[in-house]
Symmetry: D3
Subunit: 325 residues, 6 copies
């Protein structure tokens, strides 16, 4: 299909965008999901410096790359999370400030609104990201929360994100929320709950990333069929189960790549995800946005892998039938 | 084997211990894991009232029940947990106090020491329970903690529990820590880490409950073979996976019994656990303590189920071979 | 649960009802699904002879058996089927007549109306049965029907059964249609289509028989969750897949019991059905009707097996939880 | 291996043969299975017009394509089928006539004889096709046929096809019957029965199409090993099982491509068939005929897919060992 | 079914037969497979002492036990094996003699003939046992034998066993050869080869023991269907696969019971064998001989287990259907 | 990764090394594992003829091939094996001599020492091979050996190989022992035992060949993780399980390629081995030696297959990550 194949710039923020853009073009990518950290994209400069956005667009254009999605997962995370030391390294200094949790949340929300405005300025229709969650720590643990506590968590989410989504509406930008562990929505039913908490408003849809569903036992295809009109963006990332009796799905606090883990993120095609079924389902629901490689595989060189992944996605994305016969 | 079959009294704390003891005896149980909540066992009264312990023992003796284990999961949870509203209903008023998190943690630690002393007074050699955890919220979520953060979590655990385990040592009581989601140790490798954080001290071992390992993909038999001399107590509880493409293992905040969940606690024999393999492994490692039914099944009447479970465990616990032939 | 365990009398119509009733009581059954063939129940005599119904009820009462469901699968089959030689042996002479297909269909429809009236006279609230189908032969074969042909099949079904269901309504009897290969509805989606063709009228629900769904790959639990308020009756029959590379699911025209078949009907507990999951789902949807053993197993003596099945169902039907805890 | 890779022309009969031949050559095919419908091949013209056959052969030769098999599934279907409205669109007008079922059967048989003669004229050694069946509607349904009814079905088949096979013998043409749902032979044992009904005559063998066996649970390799000397032609078509608890193998009358179906036809390599095992078995039995792509996949563009399939088959068909070592 | 449930006396040869017989009767057994070692049965005394056989029969009769099969696996093993130190402890002194391999083989063959005569004297129709093999060491190893070497192994088998089978014929005794690793026949195809090497003579059939086939991956039911008229005796013994990535099926020379093994012998019902399928297949082929418990389970007390196994087999052996219905 | 892809020359010893070298270079290989049989490499000539080694090296160099490993499996086999007729064709005449078993063993040991010296002369750091085993015939058979017999087997191995390994030490050559059925070490635990019998001396490590582990049920990745510093060489060979109920893992003495076998050697990528997991594990343990194609597949032409395999290995061997990110 004619869907563009894009690269999520996050894993290369140690490089300048200029360096990465050149590589991405050589690897065969057609567009970028541009991350708002490192020097790749700076939200405040975009809003305050006249030519900042145009220069970014020009840089991409010189390499025949399209800017498809703007990503701000790191700041979004701080909007609902109980902020702690782990967040400091994720946030710009002016958002972290003195690190007072409630004030950080407030500044993170304002930065997300600014991100939406920057997207409009860039001419990008989709912003991807996380939300954080006030109740993530109650997942799977003890003591279990009662349902009132859960509801308060979703209300908190709606209350903090509705103003941001109002800016989306005003800017004609959609927020493609990534369903992901650690967020208020991390599987099919919690995604239903999040959508319902927002009254199903149109500015809010999903970045579909099969890898996060796979290890939880959720079939990614079921997710697509459940939310056919809310798939605003698609990540291509794989995951492999490596259960052997001793490893477990909750991973014992072991870092990525440790062979004692029960699952791993993997380069596309190196894990257990049924990409054939996903492409068919994307065809069925009429998704026409980018297929974005979010590279994460602790066992493969990232540059070697990015090129391989680009080819993989192009080979994968077969032409759907034009009619029945 | 001649292992006693015991009942965990927790699910019946809405009944007086007197009522429950009568039922438990009729159902065929030979002993109890007595819970320190409701009126089943009150730690402070045990330490301050002369005949309190003896009366409990007499009550059990009248029904030919042995007191095998003392359980104080609820208070133990508050020792390391970041205390919040969910803990209030789990704690005695005098431990909760005004709910200041750090002070609650301190009072919970003192109450656990008191529990050890009460166990000694009762003549019980094993206390079971939870620990809480300062880093549970970092499991499986975002942002992932770096390894220094994880290590601080285990140090916090060791620092808070070593004084309690000192009391265990002085009272000749062992702490049978239940490996469980929400605790510092929730799978095989995190159990290794916890044991290591404590320097492997002998007062500390595990309450083995296969149901918590099963849904994470950890083989309970591997756990037994990894810690053959640290199995201080065994729970008999089952779990069933009910993945169908839409449900997920993290369960979407859905309450027990909701058919949309990806796994459920189940009565023994009503789930997917390979009890045959567990009994053989317990025989191999020479475990001679009780097999304690911890009843939890949202689909079966608890009284009907407790009796069924008692029969199930007796039928299960076959006589091991006396020699090779 | 307090659900009655019933016996479907069909496989014993070579015996008089009197003989069977005595056996059924000895085997432990509490009620019957009484079949309208052999001498077990004769619809026309029931409507025309004054004491016929009362005598049947008295016979059952003498053995403490309740009449729970009236079954007329054989006549129902001829209502929509293209009638051929196979139907002659299934029908009373006065329904078969000279065997002219359209006239047989007409007489079969009238006999089904009579059956509803007989049920009312007996005080039975549920009639079970088949419908036949004008389009069964288009399932899985060649040439495939286009969707208009399929729709005509369901319209034919609605047209022929609506008058019968009108009689149901007038008699306060429900029709528990057995979803079964050979009928207009044979799996989950065709059951949806049949219900829709009838406008969802309340007189029409299902006899749930997991064995017919199992070999088709349909999860019986999904069926129960899809139609929670339309389960009017439950059959307990098992099925076993015996695929070995050479056998196939369409069974090569081989008769029951031939080991070359790819699946077989089986006595309850002797096949692959997950009865635990079915009982839990029946509890969840609040089904309180009978659990009826429909005996069919070419490898086990029917009398030996009926008694075993009765015990199996009683053991299976555990007490559901009375509340959450 | 040096087996030619051919294309079944059926799915492109909306195009002229001329158009298709050009495409097929570009896609890399080496030969055709030419279908007797559309303008691709007209049996009566072939027999009555002097140069008709030669022109077809010339057309193919101009594009370096060989005519390997002549296909007449549609007419063959009407030989034994109870003819109904579905057949009209499958048949030439002169075979359908006024649609009287018995007369259509008779004319279809004559047309199949003509097809054999046309094949001889073309110099083609193999004709592929269907047979229809008088007893297909008794598969898997109710009431089950008794064995005498089944035998009559096979006798009917033998009686109607023996005269056609006599023509095959006289023309030195083999009939490669496609084992397929809807036909008298649709799995391994019914294929045995069909062969036996014909007394094992040599003119009769099979078009082996693994996709029809796969979803029934029959291992295609077992079929090859059972009939090593009767594999006269091979189709390469895939199938995917998509059971998810709600979908079923009998497919609820849902059309191809509907995601609620329990199985789907698929482009080669996009389904669940073990092609490696099939190639090895074809090597073992010494099959040297064409590998013919029968394109059917409702999710992939047919032209894109035909080219991909041609490459797939060439890559698949590895060189067998020349000796043991 | 009315098949007798018997006990193989081998694992209790440390007890006198008198002691065992009393236990076996109490456990519920109806007959014995009597082993020719320990004091259970001594072949030479049977042939030379007048009342020896009658006394054994009387002993059994006093406990209502029938003598169903005579077993001489240990001596049979030495007939074809390259004899080494391991055989000494298996053989009576007079068979071992000075241990010269060829002479031991000769004396073992004579002792097997004597065993047949003793069986005749006891009125027992079936002798069970092993054969040994000159080529066992070539199974699965390196260098692989060429086919001529294999053939010589089977010829050696035929040459050594034909004279013994001649005695069987003369004594009207059948030899129920146990298909077992270490023997000339150890799986389905090697059983075919052994039968063929003997020209299919009727004195030679099999002791069917599913446990030896199970861990090799052979389906025991396929074995029964392959040799329906050669099943002369049935052992009931289970086996469990315990592969976990490190253990292997060849078991690393580890002794029974070691948890590092990849498979284990198990008490009936404690392993992975599908007994339901076996009983159905035994019913289909009309086997009416004993079901003999050969006890072997390193994890269960043998006396506890023997009683459990006897009950298991009785419960398992359901009544087959008397006709079709 | 930059690991060289090598070819094991064994299957082409019917060709001169000159012929093979040319082919190997054309197929894309970068190096050889050179076999000491045929004319490929003659140990005694290497030690006695001045320029023999250099000429071999020159021959390879002319085709840009590196000599990576010297292989002498055939002679090594005779060191511990009870020598019989099968060995004659594996050994040079001067090693076989008159075939007296003990003397052959002695001469084989001396030839292995000579092989080590020849490797030194060639500048090759690794010699691969087998050991033979005095106890292989006791694997999986009857009577089982007691543990003292097993220990004697490993002592015999140590006693015979220590002197050879002393030569390795003196020559700075490592022996990469191939874990393989028929050898003293054939699975994970027997490899542990062999290593222990040798006191873990450094000259001794393993040729890792996943195909031999796969069919035994041992996970090759577990082997790599168990012996991370003893993987001295890696073979790339696949294996496929073909169990179908009748075939068994011990293969009934059937030759390679017979479809009745339960497993087969296969070309890389044509079997069931998880190469992705193996490459990741090799990366984790830091293996930097060659990946050597040992060609064995009875269903694919060896030349066609060798080229395909070379490409397969190059495609497989992805670049590992350079750091964490």
């Amino acid at each position: 299909m004619a869907r563009p194949v894009a690269l999520f710039t996050g894993p290369w923020t140690d490089l300048s965008l200029e360096e990465l853009v050149q590589k991405a073009a050589e690897w065969g990518f057609q567009g970028l999901e541009l991350c708002c950290w490192g020097d790749h994209f700076e939200v405040q400069r975009a809003l305050t410096e006249d030519s900042y956005c145009q220069k970014k667009l020009d840089l991409l254009a010189r390499h025949d790359l399209t800017l498809l999605v703007l990503a701000n997962h790191r700041v979004g995370q701080a909007v609902c999370d109980p902020v702690d030391e782990r967040h400091q390294s994720l946030l710009p200094d002016y958002v972290w400030g003195d690190g007072d949790p409630e004030e950080v949340q407030q500044r993170a929300a304002e930065e997300m609104m600014a991100t939406m405005r920057a997207a409009q300025k860039l001419g990008v229709a989709v912003v991807s990201g996380f939300s954080g969650s006030s109740i993530w720590s109650y997942v799977a643990g003890y003591p279990a929360p009662d349902q009132a506590v859960v509801e308060r968590g979703f209300q908190d989410f709606a209350q903090k994100w509705n103003p941001i989504l109002d800016v989306c509406r005003d800017c004609s930008v959609k927020f493609a929320y990534e369903v992901h562990p650690g967020e208020i929505a991390f599987d099919l039913y919690s995604a239903e709950m999040a959508l319902e908490a927002l009254g199903g408003r149109e500015e809010f849809g999903f970045t579909f990333d099969a890898s996060h569903l796979h290890w939880q036992g959720v079939d990614p295809v079921e997710f697509l069929r459940r939310f056919p009109d809310r798939i605003y963006h698609v990540h291509v990332k794989d995951a492999a189960l490596t259960l052997n009796g001793r490893s477990g799905l909750l991973n014992s606090y072991l870092p990525h790549g440790d062979p004692r883990r029960g699952w791993h993120h993997r380069a596309p095609g190196h894990g257990g995800i049924d990409w054939e079924a996903i492409i068919r389902a994307l065809n069925d629901i009429g998704y026409e946005g980018p297929l974005t490689v979010e590279w994460q595989d602790s066992g493969i060189d990232r540059d070697y892998g990015a090129e391989e992944a680009c080819k993989f996605v192009k080979r994968l994305d077969f032409e759907p039938a034009k009619g029945e016969f």
